[in-house]
Every structure is written in C-alpha cells, then in structure tokens.
C-alpha cells in the first residue's frame, strides 16, 4: 500500500507510489527479504527526486513506520552510495545546473531548487561543481553560444564526416 511522506511540514501524498509498477513485479526476488527494504528506500529516493524544491524534512521521511532513522540512512546509503541528505543536495545542485543554463538569476535558481539561503547554495555548489554558480552560468552561456556557432568543434571529426556535416558550409 502506498504510504505517505511529509514535506513542508504538511502531509503530501506520495503520488508516484500509486502508479509504481513494482508492487506487482515480484518475480524471483520475491523471496529476498531485502526487496521490501529496497522498495521503502526507493520510495524515499523518488520522493526526493519529486519534491527537492520543497522544504523537505528528511527526519520525517526516515521517521516513517518500521524504520529507525539510523537504519534508514544505513540502508539508503548501502543502496545508493550516499546518505539521503547528500542525495537531496546532489539533486538540488543538478537541477540548479540546468536552471543556470538559462538566464535565471542565481538567487532565483537557489530558491527554485529548494535552498533557502544563497550563501549555503553557493557553498554547496562550489563544493560539488568546483565553480561558483555565477561563473558556471557564464561558462555555460559561452558554451551554448559556441555550440550554435561552431558545433563541429564538439564532435569527433570521424562522426561529423560520416554524417556529411563537415561539408555543411554553415559550420566551421
């Protein structure tokens, strides 16, 4: 049965769980006691992917029935190689990178992906991307410009030749 997870201090139905097909896909792994646990941490992972922009309280996710927080974090980490908190940060930064490829201002990007402080966002972004959000945005804008103007510099020549793109006089 789909269970509920909380975000923003209010109850949010985890809608994805309603349509997840895994409930009926038991197959040979039905007998593995791990599968039940995986499905629970998977729900948490998908919840993070869908609600990263909200003020998610990870304590509330892990506090769902049958899981101690410690146990939950341990299983999540063994399945995905990172803690739920690390994963939430990664998802937010990944989304921020996409938004920074538009010309949305840095502060707006910060709030749009669920951070509530620009300085926290900038610190985490620098740690993961090794660039400030502002510099990343500039670099990406320049790359997009080059991609339009001179796309062949991004493509190994053998592929470009095979496709006949080298002879296209519009490109350098």
């Amino acid at each position: 049965m789909p269970h509920k997870l909380k975000a923003c201090g209010s109850e949010t139905n985890f809608k994805a769980a309603d349509k997840l097909p895994f409930i009926r896909t038991l197959g040979i792994m039905h007998h593995s006691p791990k599968v039940y646990l995986y499905r629970r941490v998977l729900n948490a992972k998908l919840f993070i992917e869908q609600n990263y922009a909200a003020n998610i309280n990870l304590n509330e996710i892990s506090g769902e029935a049958f899981f101690s927080k410690f146990h939950f974090v341990r299983i999540f980490k063994s399945a995905y190689g990172k803690t739920p908190h690390q994963y939430l940060t990664e998802v937010r930064i990944a989304q921020a990178k996409l938004l920074l490829q538009t010309n949305m201002p840095v502060a707006e990007v910060c709030f749009a992906v669920g951070f509530d402080s620009v300085s926290t966002f900038t610190t985490l972004f620098k740690r993961l991307v090794r660039q400030t959000p502002a510099l990343y945005q500039q670099t990406q804008a320049e790359r997009q410009r080059q991609l339009k103007a001179t796309p062949l510099q991004f493509i190994p020549n053998c592929f470009a030749q095979k496709n006949g793109w080298v002879n296209n006089s519009n490109f350098q």
Partner: protein, 138 residues
Amino acid sequence: MITKLNHVSIFVLDQDSAYNFYVNKLGFNVHTDAAMGPGMRWLTVCPPEQPDLEISLMAINAGMMFNDESAAQMRALVSGGTFGFGVFECKDLLATYEELKAKGVEFTKEPTKEFYGYEALFKDDSGNWFSLGEAKAS
C-alpha cells in the same frame, strides 16, 4: 599507447525518445546536444559517474551513413533486439533494478546469479539491450 575510450555510438530509432530514456529514466547527464541542420542532431550523454565517456545517441537516417535500404535494415535489426551494447555498472543491483523498473525500464532478465556475479538485462526504448551488474567491491 591508447589510454581511454571517450566516445561510443548507439543507434537509436528516435533521438527525442532516446533522450527521455537515457536522461529521465536511466539518469544520465546530457553532455552535448547540438542541432546540425534540419533533422540532424548530435546528442551525447554520460553515465553520472563517467563524465568523460560520451555515449552518442545516433539517429538512423538515410543520408550519408545509411542509404534507404541499409537504414531500413538497421532499424529492423535495432528494434528486433539484435544489438547488445555494453555492461553498465551500479552500486547495488537489486536497488537499481527496483528503481529502473519503477521508472518504466523494461527488463528482459531479472537480477540472476551467474557464475560471474549477479546480472540483469534491460532494453532501451529502441531495442538495444544492456547488461547491468554490480561494481566489484574494491
């Protein structure tokens, strides 16, 4: 001395659909997406932890690389599941299997113990198949 593989091509039936599959289902990152003219697009994606291996999702269009006949043959071969393109690795096979299934990826073999370790097989949206295994503990 060759040191690395940095590009590899996979032929797909439809680049928009392949984009959705590799990015939104498998969770790969887009490396380069360049319009090369009408109906021509250079699209490469990378596995999340392998940013320097570009997987080029190549459209099968009659033109330079294929003629009408070979394009039709290639499409039939790809959609018929002829080609297996590689082995992907994950940290935890059962967890990844559950996740990809939940996202609608079609598996042709559930995680099964083989003499070399656990393995599952899945197909992309075009019909190309891949093996999925676990990283060896180091």
